[in-house]
């Protein structure tokens, strides 16, 4: 069996190997330090095992070789041996499986003992005992690992999880007909390298980071979000290390079309305290919003802590106002003067209305240039005017300081926020990596190890019931150098992931206490984007072919040299270019307008459409985030959703008309017409119909043909019948949920 490789890791191994050749680690006797500070003089011999059971083999003075758990080494020593640790995804996945199975077994026995002791429990009433007995029995059922998925189930789930949509007919056929024993691992690799992965992860981060048109909370109509969107997609596509990605979001400066990562700070323009809360929530799974106004009631976070943290970002300005260099064009001309000149040119040429003296685009252009992230050198964070604790005075300035993790020496950094970013992404930050792996685990398994993901408790080992697994994932993420692709590669290669979805709903207590131990992933409703993108996959052979490319022209238009726009025609041409760049998508270099669509709907992937879509759009109805708050998407049902599926244009025209892709190209375009029902089932549900379903589809919906019909009429009637089958399949719960 071919082992899937990890590109990034193999290069690390290579580097480590070179080092090894030059200066063999083996020969080196050094002082080893454990996580709790004990030391030992020993020679490095090698490593054994993987993941949590990985050990480092150390030769001590008397020549004996001891095995010491890598997890118990100090951070520094762990890094020292890192290149020698196993990084094969299959081995790491096996380690996850082992930890999950151990925990399931342990919980099972624990529950069994509790059940046995229940009748004798004096502090429970008989009713309470009955209730508890039911709970225990239910939980015991959830301690038995589920069956492994069959190929159809796996196929559908892995496409949805990695590429964000169901497989097309061709993709489904190719996988199901593949006889290679390692075809699942191969498919995982293929999907991680597909554009679908970038789009799917964009949807995730778009919700997390609140990426929206106009970028700021209230939406700056002139500020294009396109460069920021593309930056997120590119980070995923190119597998930028996650820690580096976060660092860039926190430290980027300049204008969005030049430094797209400034989008993160511009999003919270004018709300620097909210931005700090958001940074903690998003990147550290820590809710400190309370401490903005008073000491946190549940955690050891004081209002002073909040303001000391906020002070790290206190020099950041997201809007350049007034004069200074920021307002000057490269040629030195003042924007305002140039704009006044151009207004006059337009007025003189009769291009403004009789009552109008200013062209709005020109004013907007200035406003757009103001939107940039700069470090002012002045710390704007002060204690609030009603600060009432003893450790500070109202309105007093605050010095940046951390309240957990490392202390930062500001003198070593150019700006305080550089120090802050360093602190956030440091391997020594106890929340940063945990937060990432907890969130990514939830993407794959439908439920995090610690819920809610935005509020990981300070003392984790008491709260996360599978603490061993969580800390294994944390270590693994570090060992994988924060490669998001490699991290998911391991998760998706695990048997735990490849088991059938759980048929029971984890109870709220289980969610709250973290006692759901993953006999398989949780059954989830697709996200709004997964539903939409799956519908897109049903209307085209290549769902990723249309991409939003407006960002390419945006930079040129924004950086125009105004002195080159001399005549009214020059100015109008530039305005037109701007207007075109504002259109949603460019496809093969052409602007695609809103009118380009399939059967009345713009069937492009959600990541390429307006962010977010208008509130009455299908995507919003099914829970696409309004991008106002972190993770504001929802997957609960509603009547408008059902009405859209029953009576809306997507299921009644786009997917089911005789001209629809599924009918014309798949049912009638591929192979024998007799297999039409098979083909439609495979396209929509990624499985073939049972014989009962097939005969129902064929007889119940038999096309009303008769002898007097000509061929064309018969085909038309058959197409109608196929449309009915498609309609019925898209309306099933089986379509909406990810098994």
């Amino acid at each position: 069996m071919k082992t899937p490789t990890m590109k990034r890791c193999s290069s690390i191994l290579l580097v480590a190997g070179l080092l090894l050749a030059l200066n063999p680690l083996q020969a080196e006797s050094r002082v080893w330090t454990s996580a709790d500070g004990r030391t030992l003089q020993a020679e490095f011999v090698g490593t054994a095992g993987a993941g949590a059971s990985a050990v480092v083999k150390l030769k001590i003075a008397d020549g004996t070789v001891i095995d010491y758990p890598v997890s118990k080494l100090s951070e520094q020593d762990r890094l020292f041996v890192k290149g020698n640790l196993p990084t094969d995804p299959a081995a790491l996945a096996a380690e996850i499986d082992k930890l999950v199975l151990t925990k399931l077994k342990e919980s099972y026995y624990g529950l069994r003992d509790e059940l046995a002791a229940l009748p004798a429990k004096a502090d429970l009433t008989p009713d309470e005992k009955v209730k508890r007995k039911e709970e225990i029995e239910r939980e015991m059922l959830m301690c038995v690992p589920n069956e492994l998925t069959n190929d159809n189930q796996f196929l559908r789930r892995i496409y949805l999880d990695v590429a964000g949509r169901i497989p097309t007919y061709d993709e489904a056929e190719a996988f199901l007909n593949d006889r290679a024993p390692n075809k699942r691992a191969v498919l995982i690799d293929k999907l991680l390298d597909s554009e679908g992965f970038a789009m799917r992860m964009y949807n995730y981060f778009g919700d997390l980071l609140r990426v929206r048109e106009g970028i700021t909370m209230m939406g700056n109509g002139d500020l294009k979000v396109d460069p920021y969107m593309e930056w997120i997609k590119a980070s995923m596509r190119e597998d930028k290390p996650y820690d580096q990605m976060v660092r860039e979001l926190l430290t980027a400066k300049g204008k969005i079309w030049e430094e797209p990562a400034v989008g993160y700070l511009v999003s919270d323009q004018g709300m620097r305290l909210c931005n700090l809360s958001n940074t903690f929530t998003i990147f550290m799974g820590t809710e400190i919003t309370c401490a903005q106004c008073h000491d946190h009631p549940f955690e050891e976070v004081y209002q002073m802590d909040f303001f000391k943290m906020a002070a790290f970002m206190g020099e950041v300005e997201t809007s350049a106002r007034g004069g200074g260099n920021m307002m000057m064009m490269s040629g030195g001309a003042d924007y305002r003067a140039e704009v006044d000149r151009m207004n006059k040119v337009l007025k003189d040429a009769g291009k403004l209305r009789p009552n109008q003296n200013e062209d709005q685009n020109l004013g907007q252009w200035i406003g757009t240039h103001r939107m940039q992230v700069v470090d002012s050198g002045n710390n704007a964070v002060k204690l609030p005017h009603d600060y009432h604790y003893d450790d500070g005075e109202p309105n007093a300035p605050v010095k940046p300081d951390t309240y957990f993790g490392e202390k930062m020496d500001l003198s070593k950094f150019e700006t305080p926020r550089e120090a802050f970013a360093d602190w956030v992404v440091s391997p020594g930050n106890p929340r940063f990596t945990i937060n990432a792996v907890n969130r990514f685990w939830k993407i794959a398994f439908g439920l995090a190890q610690v819920e809610p993901v935005y509020n990981i408790p300070g003392h984790l080992d008491g709260q996360a019931q599978n603490y061993e697994l969580l800390s294994f994932l944390e270590t693994m993420m570090k060992d994988l150098d924060y490669s998001v692709k490699d991290f998911f590669r391991v998760l998706y290669n695990s048997q735990t992931y490849q088991r059938e979805a759980e048929t029971l709903t984890p109870s709220l207590t289980q969610v709250d206490k973290g006692t759901y131990h993953f006999p398989g992933p949780v059954l989830r409703r697709m996200t709004a984007e997964q539903i939409w993108d799956s519908l897109v996959a049903l209307t085209t052979a290549d769902p990723e072919s249309v991409t939003r490319k407006g960002w390419e022209d945006y930079k040129t238009i924004m950086n125009v040299d105004f002195s080159s726009l001399k005549t009214a025609d020059d100015i109008l041409k530039w305005k037109e270019d701007w207007s075109n760049a504002s259109k949603l998508v460019k496809y093969n270099g052409d602007v695609v307008s809103r009118e380009d669509n399939v059967g009345g709907a713009q069937m492009f992937r959600a990541s390429e459409l307006r962010q977010p879509m208008p509130s009455d759009h299908f995507l919003r109805m099914f829970g696409q985030s309004d991008k106002q708050l972190i993770e504001n998407q929802f997957s609960t049902g509603s009547s408008p959703q059902v009405m859209a599926l029953l009576n809306g244009e997507i299921t009644n025209r786009v997917l089911t008309s005789p001209d629809a892709y599924l009918v014309k190209e798949i049912a009638f375009g591929k192979g024998s017409k007799r297999d039409n029902v098979d083909k439609i089932f495979l396209s929509v549900l990624s499985r073939y119909p049972t014989s009962q379903e097939k005969s129902m589809a064929q007889s119940g919906m038999r096309a009303k043909t008769d002898r007097d019909m000509n061929e064309q009429q018969k085909t038309q009637a058959e197409a109608m019948a196929i449309g009915n089958v498609i309609w019925a399949l898209v309306n099933t719960r089986e379509f909406l949920f990810i098994q």
Binding site: P297, Q360, S615, T636, E649, A728
Partner: protein, 439 residues
Amino acid sequence: MKDALNRLDQLSRRQFVARAAKTALGVSILPIGAAKPLRAAGGGKAEHVIFFYMSGGMTHMETFDPKPGTETGGATKGIDTGVAGVQLAEFMPELAKRFKDIAVIRSMTQKTGDHRGGAYWMRTSYEPRATIIHPSMGPWAQTLLGKKHDTLPDSVVIGGGGEHPGAGFFGPALAPLPIGDPDKGVQNARPFEGVGEDLFDKRLDLMNTFDESFRRKFQTDEVKAYTQFYEETLKLMKSEDLETFDLMKEKDYDQKVQRYGNTRVGKGAMLAKRLVSSGVRFVEVVSGGWDMHNDLWSAMPQTGGQLDQALASLIDDLKADGLFEKTLICVGTEFGRTPVINVNGGRDHHPRVFSTMFAGGGISGGQVYGASDEKGIAVKENPVEAKDFNATIAYAMGLDLNKVIYAPSGRPFLVAGHTRDPKTDQIITEGHPIMPLFS
């Protein structure tokens, strides 16, 4: 102190974590029937509210606060109301005739001049924050009073865009039902064109057959909730409730369109009246066109005239049906417009002072509350903020202004904004109803 707080709040922490977990799993929102009111209504007469939201920033000087003959008043003339010394702008002739039924606020003031921020503040009483969405008034009323009708939604927004705060942290189950075009009613409520009843039923049979094994295997709360939504929706499609949203079913439709105006705001008012008559509690009618940076005086006859006509007809019809006393009509907007006329013959954003209007629902008409200065630039007396505007609506409805509601994140909120009592450190309401309106 900290320890005491910790203990005290253990329970609420449990609760909010549990609620958050529910949201995470998406199991909480099954269709909700009418609930018992949380508390008895406390004095308000307004069982229903029709809120006209004038999007874009309604000019105060061309509607409810004209300044004819002044340097900033522009070409706008005043028109007598029958109350000595009180004029409305010439674009509001019908409302001027009905002035004894309406109350005008001329001392509204806002803290921001951006559309979305101002609109958010007006609808929620709170400043926009990047960490929470505050609910709008309809969902507040449902939370504080319970659901009004078994099957009809409590709140409806007609003609709104994508920027409505909706139910905010109360969650999507309480979100106002959006209706884009009053003539079209609820989106997708009828079978698609060409899909007859037989075909529709056959398709449903197919769906149920294909889905049978999945539903048998996965009896999770979420799957069951969806199946229930299908059942409820199919019932709704056949029920009379749906007709409530069908403006075409309105008696004397053509004649009414004539009176209300064949416009979005006119038909919005017609539909709002129809919904309120059937038992919907809170209807917001959104109408745009007010962002008059250019050529204000060419736009006003149409935009202002449409509003005037719609409001006047609504008042007449509510009175004829005996609904006026229990239906509060209000007109709000994000801000006013600059008294100084700009280079393009328009007025720009002006949050410092602007006007709103109330009628019905226990409001005593024929009065003006507050005043702007002579030029219409600043508040001269009795400033009214968004939170006071909403406190007035809440008071008219009998909502408890001091009831603290906790968001899932554990943060406390009140219907008309909140502050802390400096003496007791208690959370108290910040908005105050305009009491003279109720005398």
